[in-house]
């Protein structure tokens, strides 16, 4: 009986390992996409930019996401300079509106604005709002598995599709085998596929509402020698969010 149980456990482990080995790049990135784009997400985050002068700049904001990352709303709580400012991104950040509370003006931005830095940070709007970009804009190829930051990881090379207008020619991604969290991502220059522009490192993975969630992330800008960290203060998954939130009225509220 005992021997039979051990055999079942071993065969289970072997099966899962084999399944992992059988997954191709497309299947792995689909699982990553499913993990990071939940039906709805609410988050409260602190973003700290370490500037070239070495001084930190800290922002506190709330964000809401719906339809598996298709709709996104970000509202700044602090500092006073940007308090009340809000950004609405629809259609995976193809449509962007920004609200400026002092002038109460809503400005529609074209897709090129996705390349702009979010509040001078090392994250662009594209990095923040393009929910399904991993599968829509890139073709994933599985490379040899590696151990990274203490985790066994799948290593993927993501090559930008010819019809995509994203700012990166390719990405190298390390995905934690155990939970499909994209642990480290290297972003490469649009014109020079050997030049690393930025590296994203995620850490402190916790299971929130049954979903493996990275509570901290740091984006290192290799060209400017700056970095921006983001720590999640609060996160909720699959909560009811009304569509009205993701409109001009919701943006101004």
């Amino acid at each position: 009986m005992k021997t039979q149980f051990i055999m079942i456990v071993i065969s289970g482990i072997m099966m899962s390992t084999l399944n992992g080995q059988n997954l191709d790049g497309g299947q792995i990135i689909n699982k990553v996409n499913d993990l990071i784009n939940q039906e709805t997400i609410y988050g409260k985050s602190e973003m700290t930019i370490i500037t070239t002068s070495g001084n930190p700049r800290t922002f506190l904001y709330e964000s809401w996401s719906k339809n598996y990352g298709e709709k996104n709303l970000i509202k700044y709580l602090s500092p006073a300079r940007v308090k009340g400012q809000a950004t609405l991104m629809l259609n995976h950040a193809d449509d962007i509106w920004v609200y400026f509370p002092r002038t109460q003006r809503v400005r529609k931005l074209a897709t090129h604005a996705k390349k702009q830095k979010m509040e001078g940070s090392d994250f662009s709007y594209e990095d923040m709002g393009s929910g399904d970009a991993f599968i829509k804009d890139f073709a994933a190829k599985r490379l040899k598995d590696e151990r990274k930051e203490g985790y066994d990881c799948y290593k993927l090379e993501m090559i930008r599709k010819p019809d995509s207008d994203l700012s990166y020619s390719r990405m190298i991604m390390w995905v934690v085998k155990e939970n499909f969290v994209p642990l480290v991502i290297d972003y490469y220059d649009k014109d020079d596929p050997d030049l690393i522009l930025k590296t994203l490192v995620q850490s402190d993975i916790k299971v929130i509402d049954g979903i493996p969630t990275s509570m901290n992330m740091v984006m290192y800008n290799k060209q400017d020698n700056t970095h921006t960290s983001m720590s999640m203060q609060e996160i909720k998954y699959n909560i009811p969010l009304k569509d009205e939130m993701f409109t001009e009225r919701g943006l101004k509220k």
Binding site: T52, R57, T58, A80, K83, D95, A110, A113, G120, D165
Partner: protein
């Protein structure tokens, strides 16, 4: 005497608003927000061989409170002090051939004073109903898609050297009805002595694919002064109010990744000639983070030939009664982040009709989390008598803004 009355009135308004804020049935103290900024500014210019400077200090205090879930109260007070050259006689800066007709004894009436001011800029209540928002009181009115000019905005005139600076509040009742995710209806009414004299506006907006559309209809009593005729009863210049009816629209969106927008308004005037305004603009951000924007503006109220600029044209422009006296203009700006904290920019404005232009190099910096710095120089390079004539002076401005 008038300034004393204004001062007393302003203080009464402040006290009333603070009182209103305190009696609002807010749920808890932490729902009342107090914030704002302090903004010292220095401007200097060499005008006709003299170096002239004007310094100002502005303190803006904002109050925001939520009463119940559906009602928001917002207000701000501005306290501004001016120092340096606070009396500007407009006649000193206009072409001599058009100012020569002004009798010497009337010259003092053309002084533009910069007086210390305390005023209630915005104070409104916003009711968020199930299917509509109603905003009552002094509030920001921002209409149109243009960056420098907004033909459909009958309420504000932007400064071409500083087009994103906040506009004054306007007393109005506003109704916003959202329809679906990207459509809506806005109605706006500003209260005057009687219905006929009040401003009315209705705007429909919608969105299709990557484009937002608006159609706007408005009626306003537009008051022009005749700066050549003096009214002895009011001790000011004669006014020529007339009804202005406007129908316009705007489009903003994305074409092959480039931002595009246009805005048009046709104006039917009660007595004077009808006119139209049109803008068209594009913008783009390159991968290396450089941003550029170009906007073209036509206003048929402006003249095609600078020899036809009249004294009243100039005065109405200076008094912000009309947006321009030049018919066709083009504005461009290019900005690049030289570091994560410093942006360098260069803007230029060209009056196509009279071949004059101004160049504005600028630098903006985020000094700390809540401190911004803006420095720009302005060079007017047109011939005398043109819209951007060199005799208007070359100079610059330094402005810091400290938020709290």
């Amino acid at each position: 005497m008038n300034s004393i009355k204004r001062f007393i009135f302003s203080n009464i308004l402040i006290l009333c608003t603070v009182y209103l804020c305190s009696i609002l049935p807010v749920k808890s103290q932490d729902q009342v927000d107090l914030f704002g900024y302090f903004e010292p500014q220095y401007m200097g210019a060499v005008i006709q061989g003299d170096y002239i400077q004007l310094q100002s200090n502005k303190l803006r205090i904002d109050i925001e409170a939520s009463a119940f879930d559906k009602v928001t109260f917002g207000a701000n007070f501005d306290f501004i002090t001016y120092h340096g050259k606070t009396q500007w006689n407009i006649l000193d800066y206009l072409p001599e051939d058009i100012t020569s007709a002004i009798p010497e004894e009337f010259r003092s009436y053309y002084v533009l004073p910069f007086e210390n001011r305390i005023f209630l800029d915005n104070a409104y209540l916003k009711f968020a109903l199930k299917h509509a928002d109603i905003t009552v009181g002094r509030q920001q009115i921002s209409l149109g898609t243009g960056y420098v000019w907004n033909p459909t905005d009958l309420f504000n005139t932007k400064d071409v050297l500083d087009p994103t600076y906040e506009q004054p509040g306007h007393n109005a009742i506003r109704l916003d009805i959202p329809i679906g995710s990207r459509s809506g209806l806005t109605a706006l009414y500003t209260v005057s002595d009687e219905w006929e004299g009040s401003d009315k506006l209705i705007q429909c907006k919608s969105g299709v694919s990557r484009f937002d559309f608006t159609i706007t209809a408005a009626e306003k009593i537009w008051t022009f002064h005749d700066f050549m005729q003096f009214d002895t009863i009011t001790s000011y210049f004669l006014t020529n109010p007339e009804k202005r009816q406007m129908l316009g629209g705007s489009i903003a969106g994305d074409l092959f990744g480039i931002g595009v927008w246009t805005e048009y308004a046709y104006n039917w005037m009660e007595y004077s000639e009808d006119f139209y305004e049109l803008i068209a603009g594009i913008d783009y951000t390159f991968d290396f983070q450089t941003y550029f924007l170009i906007e073209y503006y036509r206003n048929t109220l402006g003249r095609k030939d600078h020899h036809k600029y009249t004294f009243n044209d100039w005065m109405r422009f200076v008094a912000a009664e009309q947006k321009t006296i030049c018919r066709d203009q083009i504005y461009g700006i290019i900005q690049h982040p030289v570091t994560d904290l410093i942006f360098l920019g260069f803007s230029g404005i060209y009056c196509i009709s009279d071949n004059s232009y101004a160049l504005v190099p600028m630098l903006s910096s985020s000094v700390t989390n809540n401190v911004e710095l803006l420095v720009y120089l302005n060079f007017y390079l047109g011939k005398e008598g043109t819209f951007y004539a060199s005799n208007l002076g070359n100079g610059g401005m330094i402005r810091a803004r400290i938020y709290f």
